[in-house]
């Protein structure tokens, strides 16, 4: 792991936490949205509303109107992901005035980004798959296992990211040059 980006422990060790996490949530959403929704087409936002827990109408991804509704909700999901990425970048910008190149090689930032991705998986997994049940990672007879795998991946990312940022020395954005 590159350690060139870090400087001695400074007085602002947590300054990259919020931007890193918000950015990670957005990027994790894009992994879900592009890989699972689009490339693999495992699920859309509302593909399991026939078995959901809140009594939504079923929107089959194989009918035009059902796909339309799924597309609208995928669009909302897409907007949330983009807002997270852009806000994360804005937060990062507001906190990093010098050493902007080095911040991208800092373990602290990447650790928090991974943690943010993990948080995305945990929240999405618990809320959408478990509590609301509006879609599952990979619907079918083994959907419980896919959903559990998704949560485990989230937990691993969160723990791994947290360990990574802890291992890196704090990046102090004020000590640039």
């Amino acid at each position: 792991m590159a350690t060139t980006g870090e400087v001695r422990a400074g007085p602002a060790p947590r300054s990259l936490r919020l931007p890193g996490i918000v950015l990670g949530v957005g990027l994790g959403g894009f992994v879900d949205g592009i890989l699972l929704h689009q490339l693999l087409q495992w699920h859309h936002m509302l593909t399991s509303t026939n078995t959901d827990r809140i009594g939504l109408k079923y929107y089959s991804p194989h009918s035009v109107s059902g796909l339309e509704m799924n597309t609208v909700w995928d669009g909302i999901f897409h907007t949330v992901c983009w807002l997270a990425v852009l806000i994360g970048l804005a937060l990062l910008y507001s906190r990093v005035t010098h050493g902007r190149r080095r911040v991208w090689t800092s373990r602290v930032l990447w650790g928090w980004i991974l943690a943010g991705w993990g948080i995305f998986n945990l929240v999405e997994g618990l809320l959408d798959h478990q509590i609301l049940g509006i879609h599952h990672v990979h619907g079918g007879p083994y959907q419980v296992w896919w959903d559990i795998g998704f949560l485990v991946l989230g937990a691993l990312l969160l723990l791994g990211g947290w360990a990574l940022q802890r291992g890196g020395r704090a990046f102090d954005p004020e000590r640039g040059a």
Partner: protein, 286 residues
């Protein structure tokens, strides 16, 4: 591939060549891109000779060459011919020409390279041009947004798309427009090159957000069949729209990455106060 081949033949009429306007314009365009790449390499060599101590970043060179290759790859027969008869191919081609190639070209910092290698008098004239009123207007974020993302509405919302399919010259004009407007937008939003009155990072993030929203909306409208300009089989339009949606996302994420990778610190001891156009490392170098 067989299915695509089949569709392509269906759309070809009267034994016309699968490349728009025959092979000649494609050959010319690719040759032009090759000249561009060669010119860039020559300038890099000249820069190295002029300033022996300062090396030109290999990443910039690699990026610019990648940009030329991406644009050429979009035009050459495998994709170029597929794009002629299939809307999905057309969309892949336009993603490459209008989003991916421009970003790579802009990250190659061609203006900085020119400033570094031109004779001082001409470099000064170039800086003057960058400050000039027409260029300020052109490089205004709203102009750049309208020219790049906004032109999608014109192409797919009016009969223009159908007309370009029938008129090769217009088709090539649209290609050129996408490449240039894509470069303009990428240059305004991000990139190592100096730009006149480039807004601060927060404003550029908002600009990118607006572009993303428009791009996504247009792809959704296209998917739903609300943009009436495109006459192609439904599965092709949907496939193309999905490509536009997700392919556009990845390109815009890369652009966001380029924005943060190249942003200049807003304040601090290293900031040269008058350097709004920051003629960069350029003219006054040893």
């Amino acid at each position: 591939m067989g299915g695509h081949e089949h569709l392509m033949h269906e759309h070809r009429t009267g034994g016309a060549h699968p490349l728009p306007g025959g092979p000649l314009p494609t050959v010319l365009a690719v040759a032009l891109l090759a000249v561009l790449a060669a010119g860039y390499l020559l300038l890099v060599r000249r820069a190295a000779r002029r300033h022996p101590g300062r090396t030109w970043s290999r990443w910039r060179t690699a990026s610019f060459l990648t940009g030329c290759a991406l644009a050429a790859g979009a035009l050459l027969p495998p994709l170029g011919a597929f794009a002629h008869g299939d809307f999905r191919g057309h969309m892949a081609q336009h993603l490459l020409i209008g989003m991916y190639a421009p970003l790579a070209l802009v990250l190659g910092a061609p203006v900085t390279l020119l400033l570094r290698t031109l004779p001082p008098a001409r470099a000064r004239r170039l800086t003057g041009l960058l400050h000039s009123r027409p260029l300020r207007f052109l490089a205004h974020p709203v102009t750049a947004l309208l020219l790049s993302t906004g032109s999608l509405a014109v192409l797919y919302g009016t009969p223009l798309y159908d007309v370009t399919a029938a008129h090769p010259a217009l088709h090539w004009l649209v290609h050129t427009h996408f490449l240039l407007s894509g470069c303009l937008f990428a240059w305004v939003v991000a990139g190592p090159d100096p730009a006149p009155a480039r807004p601060g990072v927060p404003a550029r993030l908002v600009l990118l957000g607006v572009a993303v929203a428009l791009h996504a909306t247009f792809s959704q409208l296209l998917y739903g069949g609300f943009l009436i300009g495109v006459h192609a089989p439904v599965d092709q339009v949907r496939g193309g729209a999905q490509l536009m949606y997700y392919g556009g996302d990845i390109a815009e994420l890369l652009l966001a990455g380029a924005l943060v990778a190249t942003w200049r610190p807003a304040r601090g001891p290293h900031r040269r106060t008058a350097a709004r156009l920051s003629p960069t490392e350029s003219l006054s170098s040893p």
